[in-house]
Symmetry: C2
Subunit: 358 residues, 2 copies
């Protein structure tokens, strides 16, 4: 089985730890190694290095070369980001170019999985289902009424007894309000959309041809140049002109092939903010529910996330629900529950042209 | 008129801005210049440089030499701190050595005065009263039921119509609880004890002889060595053996000479903590009541004190009642209302032998 790991994106939600030249997927945000490396390692039971394709932004290619030196993982650089539909298309033609005719798993590089063996088992199962020409998406079984994710609604009955636990998809649903999210959680027919898809390259390309014919033409062009010296020039010409569109919206909602959702209970998190990182690190907090990185001094603090990533002394007194991220050149102090609003800080840095901190 | 400025003490309440080698009085905590310099400048209408005596810890002598270069202010170093009674005694013999027979004002180096002209006028008035052989203390008219200060209670009636606004002292009172502090505020007979005394050197020495004969003997010894090369050796011998005792407790509560309190309304603050500094900087806060030093980014913050004293970027999001003090090698983040507990951090630094941060 091939895997395409989508490592584009310049996420700013982990500023000041993440920066333009070192986005979240290249940081060891949730574990011991950079997320993109952990994502690859997690998939080793499923694919050899030569079956792994990492699609990433060109500006991060140097970073990735260092991270994956002595590894046979394929690195494919996008000149600019154009959301997931072009990225998955690029991954599909690259896999086909490498000789893949079976299933490919397409997945983001920056997610956390508490139980990798369950995850790999489900992906493998999804691969079997995808052989027959459909697209399978993993549906994360919700554990709380989350309003920050899109949802996948399954059809009421299982369509095909041979496909055991997979359901046909009834609808893709936008981020709900709290009331709806509570209904979704109680009902049992809704799953979190983790942006993880499994299909053969041929199925992907056929659906791109149906739903996004312009993208299809561009990808066909690129595919012919793959493996030749012309590829770099070609992708430079073609890619910036592509329409930025997500695979969910551009393909999944309009596809004509069978679309399945495979319920998955692997302890998934998209680690979308400092607060969600705090939430998933439940087991490494201190008795007063502080999550600590580095060696800060804490006195009378609780429910706080203190990350001391510089060589300075960080001393905290009487804090509650606070986020502190200290890096050598920039320091963030925020209400932990407002950590999703970090974009406001990044926006102000852009506005005031303090590029060195971006 | 002579002035003796007491600049000993290694206050830790402004950590991490204040350190062992740079305590509060050598920092520009409340104004534009180091507090000790502002204290001297404030007294210029009262005393020439040659009439100013600065008593300080020996470890800060180098600092003071830099600060007062090209000035004729007298610097007298204590080998060790022994509280205010020995310090005032030392100031008194030094003033007498310089030829002073009139009144001397003894005052701390690290206080803030909003209205210096009122302060200087009242000190001058206190000097006139002190000529007749009493000790005059400035009584700060309270503006809130403060539980962090000692109080001075005046006698019910003015004892002497020639001494206009001064009263005889009825009692020195320890820090009260809130209920008592409220009574003190309402009653009009109580003043804050700012530790500011005015008396002639002869009166001071006579009272030291009465109340603290051991100290008197030591000071007489020292006085004979003043102006000779023997002084340094002498003070090294004598000073460490002295009992550490405050002038309030050791002298004022037991003195046999007349003790007066002169009510003073000069906008005094002892600037005893980050919180009290925040309180007195009312007029320099932003519209959301943030007090800002340096150029931090603030988004949705209120009632916070953000001091950015390093060259790093400090970004704050959604903070309330928070204190942030960023220095090149140490960072403090605290509940502003708990800023008096900084001693707990300093204690932990001592305990864990992180001397470099003290």
């Amino acid at each position: 089985m091939y895997v395409v790991i989508m490592a584009g994106g310049s996420g700013t939600r982990f500023w000041p730890a993440s920066r333009r030249d070192k986005p979240k997927q290249f940081l060891n945000i949730s574990g011991k190694e950079p997320m993109v490396l952990e994502t690859c390692n997690r998939l080793r039971p499923l694919a050899s290095e030569k079956e792994m394709i990492l699609v990433l932004g060109r500006e991060h290619l140097k970073n990735a070369h260092i991270l994956f030196k002595n590894q046979d993982v394929h690195l494919v650089a996008e000149p600019v980001g154009r959301n997931t539909a072009p990225c998955i298309g690029l991954g599909a033609i690259y896999a086909r170019h490498l000789g893949c005719s079976g299933a490919v798993a397409f997945l983001p590089a920056d997610h956390f999985i508490r139980n990798p063996s369950v995850f790999v088992r489900d992906l493998s199962h999804a691969g079997e289902i995808a052989q027959s020409g459909g697209i399978v998406t993993l549906g994360i079984i919700p554990t709380r009424p989350e309003t920050g994710y899109g949802y996948i609604r399954r059809a009421k009955d299982q369509p095909d007894s041979t496909q055991s636990t997979a359901y046909q998809v009834s609808a893709f649903v936008e981020k709900p309000d709290l009331e709806r999210a509570q209904e979704y959680l109680a009902g049992g027919e809704y799953f979190w959309n983790a942006g993880i898809f499994v299909a053969t390259p041929n199925t992907i390309m056929k659906e791109i041809q149906n739903c996004l014919p312009d993208l299809y033409e561009a990808l066909r062009h690129l595919e012919q140049a793959l493996g030749t010296e012309a590829f770099e020039t070609e992708i430079e010409d073609v890619y910036p002109a592509l329409k930025a569109i997500s695979f969910d919206y551009g393909i999944m909602e309009k596809a004509t092939c069978p679309i399945f959702v495979l319920p998955c209970e692997c302890g998934w998190s998209d680690v979308g903010s400092w607060a969600s990182l705090y939430a998933l690190k439940e087991h490494t907090r201190d008795p007063r529910q502080n999550l600590i990185e580095g060696e800060p001094i804490l006195i009378d603090c609780e429910k706080s996330f203190i990350s001391s990533r510089s060589d300075r002394l960080v001393a905290c007194l009487g804090l509650e629900n606070l986020l502190v991220v200290d890096t050598p050149d920039a320091l963030l102090i925020a209400d932990l529950e407002k950590s999703e609003e970090i974009r406001k800080i990044v926006a102000q840095l852009r506005k005031t042209q303090r590029e060195e901190y971006l």
